[in-house]
C-alpha cells in the first residue's frame, strides 16, 4: 500500500488538503488530523521529520506556513517519502508559479488532480513533472 494519506495543514493546524487512500470515517479523520497536528506541529526543525503515530508513520515537511504530511506504512523508505513531498511541492510550484497556501485553497481541485496523477492506490506512479502536469494543462485548453 505504501502511502495511506496525504495532508496539508497550516501551522495553525487547519487542514488545507486531505487525501486518504484508505477509508476512514469523518470522525476517524478528525481524530487522526487532530492527533497529527498535536504531534507534528510542535516539533522543532532539528528533530526527525518522521513521527510514529498509531499504526502510521508520518513523514512531514514544512514550507513556511504549510505542513505537508504523508502517512505511510512502517516499511516505507522515509527519506524517499520526504523527497516525494518535495516533489509535490515543486510540481505545484511549477504549475502555479511560486505556489502559496492560498493557491492550494483557491485551486483545491487542481491540487487534487496533481496528486491523482502522482499517487494511485497509495503507490507513487508518476514522478515526472511534465507528465504530471500535462493532463491538467490539456484540460485548461479545452
Amino acid at each position: 500500500m505504501g502511502i495511506r494519506f496525504i495532508l496539508m495543514v497550516n501551522k495553525q493546524g487547519q487542514t488545507r488538503l486531505a487525501q486518504y487512500y484508505e477509508h476512514l470515517t469523518l470522525q476517524e479523520r478528525r481524530a487522526l488530523e487532530a492527533e497529527i497536528v498535536r504531534k507534528c506541529l510542535a516539533r522543532n526543525q532539528q528533530q526527525c521529520s518522521f513521527v510514529e503515530l498509531w499504526n502510521y508513520k508520518i513523514v512531514y515537511r514544512r514550507y513556511v506556513s504549510l505542513f505537508f504530511l504523508v502517512g505511510v506504512d512502517n516499511d516505507e523508505n522515509e527519506l524517499a517519502i520526504l523527497e516525494f513531498i518535495h516533489l509535490i511541492a515543486q510540481t505545484m510550484d511549477h504549475h502555479f508559479g511560486n505556489v502559496c497556501e492560498l493557491d492550494i485553497m483557491f485551486y483545491l481541485e487542481r491540487a487534487h488532480f496533481m496528486l491523482d496523477e502522482m499517487v494511485m492506490n497509495g503507490c507513487i506512479v508518476e514522478t515526472s513533472k511534465t507528465h504530471i502536469l500535462a493532463p491538467i494543462q490539456q484540460m485548461d485548453k479545452t
Binding site: Q47, S49, F84, I124, T142
Partner: protein, 968 residues
C-alpha cells in the same frame, strides 16, 4: 476601513480577481484562511453548510456554479463536517460532458464516498461510458475514478474495458489501466488472477512511466509469491542498470539523480527476490555496487536510494564487498548532524546487525547518542535496534533503559508496545530470577493494566517454582525478597489491578513463610488492599483468598489465630456481596478457620502451589461414609450404565443428545425442582456448557459445575473440593475447571468497565510512584565517575540526569569502562553538533512569520493609508507597496527573537493586509497592466505576493514568494 475593504473586494470580483471564482467562494476561502481558532472555523463551516443547503435547493443552477458548490462541499468535509446532503450532486456532475466538470465530479465523489456506498452504483454506468470515450483525458479521468470507487462487486462491470485499455496508444492511459488492474488485485485478487501476466508484459513497456507504475503491482505480487517471479530477476536488474546509467528521459531526474523513486522500488523488489537465494543474489551484486558508487551522498534523495541499497544488501545473500559499502554508508549516516540521516542509519544498522553483529560495535557511541536524544522518534528507533541486539550480557542495561523510557511517556499505545518488549527480553535473557522479578515489578507498576495477564501468571509461576533446581535456600530467598518488595510497593496509591493480583497471591503464599512478618501484619496489609480497591472485584477475590491461606498456614502451624477486626468486617461485607464469587470465598474463609489443623494441612498445604493435584476419581475417601450410610439402610449406588432407564439430571448431561432428548419427558417428574433449571436448557447449550470443562471425568465436571452454580451447597465434601480448585485456578489462571469460568468472566468484565479510568490513574500517578519507589531502593550511590558519565552523556538537564542515575547504576563494570571512554567523545560530539546545527542552511525556509507570536509596533491602519496613496495607478507602484509592507514584517522577525511574548493586534494587521492586497489586485487589473509571471495563469506576481500575505503568510527574504527556496 470596512468600506475600503469592501471596495477592494468588489473591485477584485469585478476583475475576477485573477481566480475566476465567485465572490462567495473567495469570501469562504478567505474567512477559512483567516480563522484563528478551531471554533471560529467550525462556525464558518456550519454557516456554509446552511448556505449551501439553501443554494442547492434553488432551481436551474448553472454548471459552473455547481462546480463551485462541490468544491465548497469538499471544504465542508475536509474540515470535518458531514456533507452527505449533497453527495447526489457530486454524482450528477460526473455525467457532465465537460471534462473539467466531470473530473471535479469524480473528485468530489471519490473524496466523499467509500467504494461500498450505495450511490456508487449510479456511477458505474458513467464510468463504463467514459472508459470508451475517444478523448483520452476522459478515459484517464474515468480510470482514476475506477481506482477509487470500484469495489470487488463492481469489478466485473469495468474489467473488460480496463484490460482493453492496457494496450491503448496513449502511455498515460496504459499506466492508469495498469493501476486500475492493480486496484482490482488489491480488492479481490481472484477476479484478476488470470490477468497477472499483463503486469509482466507491461514491464517491458516503451514508456518509463508505464514501466514504473507496473512495478507497484509486481511488488505486491512478489511479496506474496516470490518463487513465481524469480525469472524476472534479470529483467529487474537490467532495468535498474539502465536507470542508473541515465537511460531514462531527463524529466524523470530528481535532484540530478535518475528516476530515484523507480530505483528505490526496484531495489525493494530485488531485496525480496534475492532473499535466501544465492543464485538470484549474485546477479544483483554488480548493479547494487554500482549504485552505491554512483549515488550522490550529499542529497536527501541520494541517501534515500543508498538506504534502500543497504536494505537490499541486508536481505539478499551475503556479499562481503557490498556489506563493506553498506557499512560505510551507515557510518556516514550515523555521524551526520541530520536527525533524519541518523534515524535512517539506526534503522539500517538494525538490518545489518542480523548478518554482521560486529558492525554495531564501532557505532556504540553514536547509538548511545541517539538513545539519549530528546527526539522521541529517534529514541524509539534506537530501542528497536537495541531490541534486536539484546543478549544475556546486555539485557540488564537495555531493559533498564526501556523501562525508564516507558515510565517517562504517556502514550499508551507505545507504552503497551515497549512493556511487551521488556517482558519479552526479560523472559528470554534474564540473568537471574531475582532480576526478572524486579524487572517485572517495575513493568507492572508502571505499565500495569497494559500488560498481558499471562505475564502476571508467568511471574507468579516463577516465584512459586523458584530456580527449578534443588536449591531451596535460594528459592526461599527469592520469595522473601519478593515479599519484601511487595510489602513496600503495596502502600503505593493506585496500583494496577494485574499487579495487585500478583502481590496478593505472593503475599498469601509466602507472606509468612520466612517468619519475618506476622500473620496479622500480612493480613492487615491484604485487608488494606481489599479496602483501597473496593471497586475491583478480582483484586478483592485475590486478597480474601490470600488472607484465607495465611490463616490456614497459621492453623496448620498450630499457632493461635486472632482474626483482625478489619478482617472480620471485610469477611462480613463480602459474605453479603453481590458477587457470588466473593461471597463464596468469604464463606470458605470462615469455614477454613473453623476446622482443625489436621484437615487444614490436607486442604491448604503450604507452598504447594506447584504440586500436581491428584484427583481420586473413585472418591475412595468416602468409602467409610458410604458404608455407614448403607448400614443404616441407604440404597447402594447404582452405576450409570445400570440405571440408564431411570435417569437423573446429572446423567442427562453426559448422554448423547438424541438419547437425552428421548428421555427428557420422563425424568422431569422425578426430579426435585432445583436441579431442573439446567434441564430446561436446550441440548446445544448444555453441550457447550460441558465443553467449557476440559476435564474428562464426567462426575467431576458435574460436581464442580453444580458447586459453582449453587454456592449455597455447603456440605463438607464439596467445599473441600472447591477450595482446592480455587487455589489451582488462581495460581495459574488457566480455566481448567468450570468454577474458573465464573471467575474469569468477572475479571474480564471488570476490566472493560474499569479499564479507562484505571489507565488514566496509572499514567498520572506514575512519576510520583516511581520517585517514591526509587528513593526507597537500597544503596543507590553514584560514584563521581558515574556522575561525570551521566552529565556528559545527558548534558546536565535535570530530567535526563535522573534517568541517568536510575538507569546507569546497574551497568556492569565492563560496560562502565567503555561508557567513560565514550563519554568524553560524546561530550565533544555534542558540542560540535550544537555548533554545527545552528547555522545549518536548509533547503527550506523555516524562519517563520511573526503571526502567532509577535508583531511589530507599526500601526496597520497608517500603513494601509500609505499603501493606498502610493499605489494610485501604476503597477510599478504596486511593487513599491509590496516592498513597503514587507519591511515591517522583516522587522517583526527581529522583534520576534528579541521580545518574545509581545502581543499585539495580529488579526487586525492581517485583515488589513487582505484588504489592501485585494484592492491592489483590483487596481492592477483596472490599469490593465498584465505583468505575466511563470505558470499557466496570467497572474501578477504582486498579486500573488498580496495573496500570500493576506493569508497571514509573511515573506521573510528578498523574494516575497513562499516557495522561493524550493527552486533555488
Amino acid at each position: 476601513m470596512e468600506q475600503l475593504k469592501t471596495i477592494g473586494r468588489e473591485l477584485a470580483m469585478g476583475s475576477q480577481g485573477g481566480f475566476g471564482q465567485s465572490k462567495e467562494f473567495l469570501d469562504l476561502v478567505k474567512s477559512i484562511g483567516e480563522a484563528r481558532s478551531k471554533a471560529e472555523e467550525e462556525r464558518i463551516v456550519l454557516h456554509e453548510i446552511e448556505t449551501l443547503k439553501r443554494r442547492l435547493a434553488e432551481p436551474d443552477i448553472p454548471k459552473r456554479k455547481m462546480k463551485e458548490y462541490l468544491i465548497r462541499l469538499v471544504y465542508v468535509e475536509m474540515l470535518g463536517h458531514d456533507a452527505s446532503f449533497a453527495y447526489i450532486h457530486a454524482v450528477k456532475m460526473t455525467h457532465d460532458d465537460n471534462l473539467v466538470l466531470k473530473r471535479t465530479g469524480y473528485l468530489a465523489v471519490s473524496l466523499f464516498l467509500n467504494d461500498d456506498h450505495d450511490l456508487i452504483i449510479l456511477i458505474v454506468n458513467t464510468i463504463q461510458k467514459d472508459l470508451k470515450s475517444d478523448n483520452y483525458l476522459v478515459v484517464c479521468t474515468a480510470l482514476n475514478a475506477v481506482c477509487k470507487l470500484i469495489n470487488d462487486e463492481t469489478v466485473p462491470a469495468v474489467l473488460p474495458q480496463v484490460v482493453e485499455l492496457l494496450a491503448h496508444q496513449k502511455e498515460a492511459v496504459r499506466k492508469k489501466a495498469i493501476m486500475a488492474l492493480h486496484r482490482f488485485y488489491q480488492k479481490s485478487p481472484s477476479s484478476v488472477s488470470h490477468l497477472v501476466s499483463n503486469f509482466r508484459k507491461r514491464l517491458c513497456d516503451n514508456d518509463p512511466g508505464v514501466m514504473g507504475a507496473t512495478l507497484c503491482p509486481l511488488f505486491d505480487l512478489i511479496t506474496i509469491d516470490v518463487n513465481t517471479y524469480k525469472d524476472l530477476v534479470v529483467s529487474f536488474v537490467s532495468i535498474l542498470k539502465q536507470v542508473a546509467e541515465r537511460r531514462l528521459p531527463k524529466t524523470y531526474d530528481y535532484h540530478q539523480l535518475p528516476a530515484p523513486f523507480i530505483q528505490i522500488r526496484l531495489l525493494k523488489i530485488l531485496a525480496m527476490l534475492g532473499s535466501g537465494d544465492k543464485q538470484a543474489s549474485e546477479k544483483m551484486y554488480t548493479v547494487v555496487s554500482d549504485i552505491f558508487k554512483k549515488c550522490d551522498s550529499t542529497s536527501n534523495i541520494g541517501n534515500a536510494v543508498l538506504y534502500e541499497c543497504i536494505c537490499c544488501v541486508s536481505a539478499i545473500h551475503l556479499n562481503p564487498k557490498l556489506l563493506d559499502q553498506a557499512a560505510q554508508v551507515i557510518s556516514r549516516f550515523l555521524k551526520s548532524d541530520s536527525h533524519n540521516l541518523k534515524y535512517m542509519g539506526i534503522d539500517a544498522l538494525g538490518r545489518l546487525i542480523k548478518i554482521s553483529p560486529e558492525i554495531a560495535e564501532q557505532h556504540q557511541l553514536a547509538v548511545i547518542d541517539c538513545l539519549e536524544d530528546p527526539d522521541d522518534t529517534l529514541k524509539r528507533k534506537t530501542f528497536e535496534l537495541l531490541y534486536k541486539m539484546t543478549k544475556s550480557s546486555n539485557v540488564e542495561v537495555i531493559v533498564d533503559h526501556m523501562i525508564s523510557y516507558m515510565i517517562s511517556i504517556n502514550d499508551n499505545h507505545y507504552k503497551t508496545y515497549i512493556a511487551s518488549r521488556c517482558v519479552e527480553l526479560a523472559e528470554q535473557f534474564a540473568p537471574s530470577n531475582q532480576w526478572f522479578i524486579q524487572t517485572m515489578n517495575k513493568v507492572f507498576e508502571h505499565a500495569g493494566d497494559l500488560v498481558n495477564v499471562k505475564v502476571a501468571h508467568n511471574l507468579m509461576k516463577l516465584i512459586a517454582e523458584g530456580f527449578g533446581e534443588d536449591d531451596d535456600t535460594a528459592d526461599s530467598q527469592l520469595r522473601s525478597s519478593a515479599v519484601e518488595s511487595y510489602l513496600r510497593i503495596i502502600v503505593e496509591p493506585k496500583l494496577p489491578s494485574v499487579f495487585l493480583q500478583v502481590i496478593c497471591w505472593v503475599l498469601g503464599e509466602y507472606g509468612t513463610a520466612d517468619g519475618k512478618y506476622s500473620a496479622s501484619y500480612i493480613t492487615g496489609k491484604l485487608c488494606d488492599v481489599a479496602e483501597a480497591y473496593s471497586n475491583d472485584e478480582t483484586v478483592k477475590a485475590y486478597a480474601v483468598t490470600a488472607i484465607m491461606k495465611i490463616y490456614a498456614f497459621e492453623i496448620s502451624a498450630a499457632r493461635k489465630v486472632d482474626m483482625l477486626p478489619e478482617c472480620q468486617s471485610l469477611v462480613e461485607e463480602l459474605s453479603a456481596s453481590h458477587s457470588t464469587d466473593l461471597q463464596q470465598r468469604a464463606y470458605e474463609l470462615q469455614a477454613v478457620i473453623g476446622i482443625d489443623a489436621h484437615a487444614i494441612e490436607s486442604i491448604m498445604p503450604s507452598d504447594a502451589s506447584c504440586e500436581d493435584i491428584e484427583i481420586d476419581k473413585n472418591l475412595s475417601f468416602l468409602d467409610g461414609y458410604v458404608q455407614r450410610a448403607i448400614e443404616k439402610g441407604a440404597q447402594p449406588y447404582i452405576s450409570e450404565n445400570e440405571r440408564t432407564g431411570m435417569l437423573n439430571i446429572n446423567n442427562f448431561r453426559n448422554q448423547d443428545q438424541p438419547e437425552a432428548l428421548s428421555h427428557s419427558l420422563r425424568f422431569e417428574a422425578y426430579e426435585l425442582p432445583k436441579p431442573l433449571v439446567p434441564s430446561r436448557v436446550p441440548p446445544a447449550a448444555v453441550a457447550s456448557s460441558t465443553e467449557l470443562v476440559p476435564v474428562p471425568e464426567p462426575y467431576y465436571a458435574r460436581e464442580t459445575h453444580q458447586a459453582a452454580s449453587l454456592p449455597s451447597v455447603s456440605d463438607a465434601g464439596s467445599t473441600e473440593l472447591k477450595l482446592r480448585l480455587d487455589g489451582v485456578q488462581k495460581k495459574w489462571g488457566r480455566p481448567t475447571y468450570s468454577s474458573s469460568a465464573s471467575l474469569t468472566s468477572t475479571s474480564g468484565s471488570h476490566k472493560t468497565t474499569n479499564g479507562v479510568t484505571q489507565v488514566d490513574g496509572v499514567s498520572t500517578s506514575n512519576s510520583k510512584g516511581r520517585e517514591a519507589y526509587d528513593s526507597r531502593k537500597p544503596s543507590v550511590e553514584i560514584s563521581p565517575e558515574k556522575q561525570k558519565l551521566a552529565s556528559s552523556l545527558f548534558g546536565g538537564s535535570s530530567r535526563t540526569e535522573k534517568r541517568a542515575s536510575s538507569g546507569n547504576h546497574k551497568v556492569s563494570k565492563a560496560t562502565e569502562k567503555s561508557h567513560v571512554g565514550k563519554a568524553a567523545g560524546a561530550h565533544s560530539d555534542a558540542v560540535a553538533e550544537k555548533i554545527n546545527s545552528e547555522p545549518t542552511p536548509d533547503l527550506l525556509d523555516f524562519s517563520d512569520s511573526a503571526v502567532t507570536s509577535t508583531a511589530p509596533s507599526v500601526d496597520p491602519f497608517q500603513q494601509l493609508e500609505g499603501l493606498l496613496d502610493q499605489t494610485e495607478a501604476t503597477s510599478t507602484m504596486n511593487n513599491g507597496a509590496a516592498g513597503a509592507s514587507r519591511t515591517p514584517e522583516i522587522m517583526g522577525l527581529y522583534a520576534d527573537s528579541a521580545v518574545s511574548g509581545l502581543s499585539s493586534s495580529v488579526a487586525n494587521r492581517d485583515e488589513f493586509n487582505l484588504a489592501s492586497e485585494l484592492s491592489n489586485a483590483a487596481r492592477t487589473s483596472q490599469v490593465g497592466v498584465s505583468q505575466l509571471n511563470k505558470g499557466p495563469n496570467p497572474k501578477d506576481s504582486l498579486e500573488k505576493d498580496a495573496l500570500v500575505r493576506q493569508m497571514g503568510v509573511n515573506p521573510t527574504s528578498e523574494n516575497p514568494n513562499l516557495f522561493k527556496d524550493l527552486l533555488g
